[in-house]
Symmetry: D2
Subunit: 308 residues, 4 copies
């Protein structure tokens, strides 16, 4: 395992020069784009790391997975999907087009419009402190905190998300004010995680929602099933289809450079690589995952499953 990680990361490092950090949030734009780290967390609780796997960065869109899971737990299936769909949009993550032109609700909870709709539901159901606490549990990482600098940087450059939120409000989709909804949304995006935190979270999802260390169930089985499915079809923005072909494990990326991957019943994987492609996914991170998938036959439709 260690050798596979090392090789994948060392090759991936060569690709970090090809992308760029998320410049539309100044605090993210300033990040060093040569970072690259991976962490694999297996069912026996073992963590395998290589590269910058303990570096802190903001979770960004990966928090959409947590918010969706909590929404399903708290509000149930019907109410959660009352005003957000489950279809890949075919458009970029911050697009307004479909929402304005052909649809009455956001395409899915993994794009900004859908996640803001979910955040608006949650803002009356649960406090940020509760969300933070639960995130720590899911990631098996007690050191996750709010990154105040990124939070304020993002709140100061939020015009486009405000446009999305007000369009949602004009369609009667928000349950709280635009301000409350976005505050909730951006706070969740600004949590500081590591590749290792994401690997831990991935393992919980791979283990059907049960913390393998304690045996305690953190999420209902049906919630985990839905979350993994939507990660698979929508988790890598408008690159989800290609990623499913090439890597084939439910994943969610964030513009902070993180990728959360779930190898069902086997392992969780966390990536940190802030150099992004034009769709907003970590360039080198995707490469690492392609390599791991090929070497360890991780694809959900791989012909067989070897042991380590």
């Amino acid at each position: 395992m260690d050798k596979i990680l090392e090789k994948a990361v060392e090759e991936g490092k060569k690709m970090t020069a090809l992308g760029r950090t998320a410049t539309y949030i100044p605090e993210l734009g300033r990040m060093d784009k040569s970072y690259l780290g991976v962490c694999v967390c297996t069912g026996d609780g073992q963590y395998y790391k290589y590269g910058d796997a303990d570096e802190r960065f903001t979770i960004q869109s990966i928090s959409k997975v947590i918010s969706l899971a909590v929404a399903l737990e708290r509000c149930g299936f019907e109410r959660t999907f009352d005003r957000v769909g489950m279809e890949p949009s075919g458009d970029s993550f911050d697009s307004l087009v479909k929402l304005d032109l052909t649809s009455d609700y956001p395409s899915n909870p993994m794009i900004n419009s859908g996640a803001i709709a979910i955040a608006s539901h949650l803002a009356s159901e649960v406090s940020f402190e509760q969300m933070l606490k639960f995130t720590r549990l899911l990631c098996m990482d007690d050191e996750i905190t709010l990154n105040e600098r990124v939070y304020h940087s993002e709140m100061g450059h939020i015009s486009r998300n405000k446009a999305i939120a007000y369009l949602l409000e004009s369609k009667g989709i928000l349950e709280n004010s635009v301000e409350e909804s976005l505050k909730f949304y951006v706070r969740m995006c600004s949590l500081n995680v590591t590749a290792a935190s994401l690997a831990g979270f991935g393992l919980v999802l791979a283990s059907d929602g049960v913390d393998p260390a304690t045996g305690k169930r953190l999420l209902h089985s049906w919630v985990v099933q839905i979350v993994k499915t939507i990660m698979l079809t929508c988790g890598m923005y408008d690159g989800s289809g290609k990623f499913a072909v090439e890597v084939g494990v439910p994943s969610k990326s964030g513009v902070g450079g993180g990728i959360l991957s779930v190898v069902d019943k086997r392992m969780g994987i966390g990536i940190f690589g802030p150099s992004l492609d034009e769709k907003g996914n970590s360039i080198a991170g995707q490469h690492v995952l392609r390599e791991l998938s090929a070497k360890m036959k991780l694809h959900m439709f791989a012909d067989n499953v070897p042991e380590f």
Copy 2:
């Protein structure tokens, strides 16, 4: 003339049942949709009226003509059209699609996005009191005031325009804050006019920007030329093309039910008819203008011009 107006309005009244008032602003939605009035103001200063020509209603989008004219006067051609285009959009007046998908600036100053961009420029150049004063001059009507009830109703249901404004802000098009820009924009929309006010304004535009009563020039000739052209191509939202064929005079409609029409070098026409078609234009008002155009050969490309 009086007979032509009477016949056109009486026929038009039958059509008021076919449309509806602008329900997305509650205070406009409550309006009686059976109102219909017309006023023609000819070069000799004569006002011809029929129906509800002295009823007060809010100017709404017709104020976009005034704001464009003032922007051109204050900021010049280059700066005004630096961040707003001159093309019909082919979409509805409050669409976000083109702005998000294919363009870096609003299509033209007669749709909401373009008018908000213009308002944002003007908000630093001129006070609302100056705008009000100038509107009274252009309309030759000293009794124009701000309709506070409509203003507050509109500010309370402004999510969609906020979405547009924040999208503009995200593209770096606004010169003032969203709040300042929209406050300016909605105040201008909430001015109380009559069909007679609009006829007066129309005559000033027909007279190349000169108040025919006093001989005083209110707008530069080049500004008036641009304003009339853009009214012709974009003034009736995505019904402008058909209206140009059928009526053939530069016009601008508002969802308050008003239409301002300019018969170049001949007359101004004002309409009040709050029953709207699905594009947001007064149904009966358009009928009245078709009748007047046919009877008095008002079309810009009519074969000849008869005298009264």
Copy 3:
């Protein structure tokens, strides 16, 4: 198993009244929409049937799976995906919008534009007779033939697909003429199958491309992996995301009323139910699959896998 099938079909029959047959092809429009049948083919070669499982109908879009598989076998990954993508389009199956507006190639091989591009490649590589023969092998059904009536009906109402094909040609994507490409495409759509044929095909895909009866490999493992992945993300048109959440097995629908489903490493399922929803998927067929998935824990991310 028999009881599960019976219950699911009997319930599903009540829903056949809610949809309609594919009226844009007259010969399909004439079909009785109350048909409903299901067939499950398990790893031991056992066929379980209920309802109209041996009724012949045209395979329609399910042939896109076969064509994609053959293209990958014959032309390889690179050449196949040189001019067709792997992303859900977010639009309906016969849309031209994305292809005209934002993309240089079709979004994926499961929508008409992508399948016509694939057909155009194949038309020089393989004869229709070879395709027919191979389809019989994949479906383990020697009685599959060309339905001449549907073929001619479809060729006579092909304007929209011609529009798509000429747009592809204008972008340099076709390798053969529009006529050759569409002839190939429509012939493949007009093959007469049964729910049982589809179940057999499904089992071959579930068995990694190996015919379980003979042990003979019909498709390479990597081809099967790609095909199943794309079925999962794109196989149910713009309803693929919701279907993945609710049913969770790679599937492909056709407007003839068929659905092919693959429960990896376990079974193939074939459906025939020509009453379609507005996206073009069998209404009752989807219900049957939801029931089977729930009762037998077929979802790819179901928590565990019971035995029969």
Copy 4:
């Protein structure tokens, strides 16, 4: 007059390097893009020329004006506009998007989709020979012929227009086959004219449809009125709005480099300048028209009209 033309053309020649010829039709792509000529034909029958005003080139989209006029004459207003609109589309001239997405008929007769719909109507009403003869009359030019090389080059590179035509057919808009419709359409596009021919045609339109030399009426007054209006709002593709502001006379461009302009009741203007901007309009030609409009106060809303 001669000096004005000379100055405008000499200045314009500097701009011919900035554009390119219409490369999607090989025979047009081969044209020398440094050509530039202008011809003005005034009410007294005088022709003023400068530059390449007698050079032959294909009329291309300017023929859409002739076809619209003949359709109105032959089929009347109702039938002509039964299946084509009168609105600027906001999209490029060969776009399929609006037609596929939001509309049941082409936006207007000046874009390809609308013109093909018109051609389809005309193909049963009038022979090509009659159209040619009538074009010669309208242009007061007996030497207009079919350019066989351009015709065949265009028919050989017609995929995109076929896509448009088949999409129209799928919506039930064509009255003749795609082949007949396109043959009619492309033949009309392939007529060889000169800047002088266009100036003559412009004068006929400026003279309300009457040939000023013979006093013979060639088109009904109401037809000319409609044609000029639609030229004004839609004649310069998606650059029509800006052109109306800057030049302000009804005009129609073609990708052969021609522009037809009508100064109502005063003159016709013909332009030949095959170096095109990205919208498909002659770059230098537009410059010449801006100059002529400014110098001779040709704008329809110019403050006054000087004599020569």
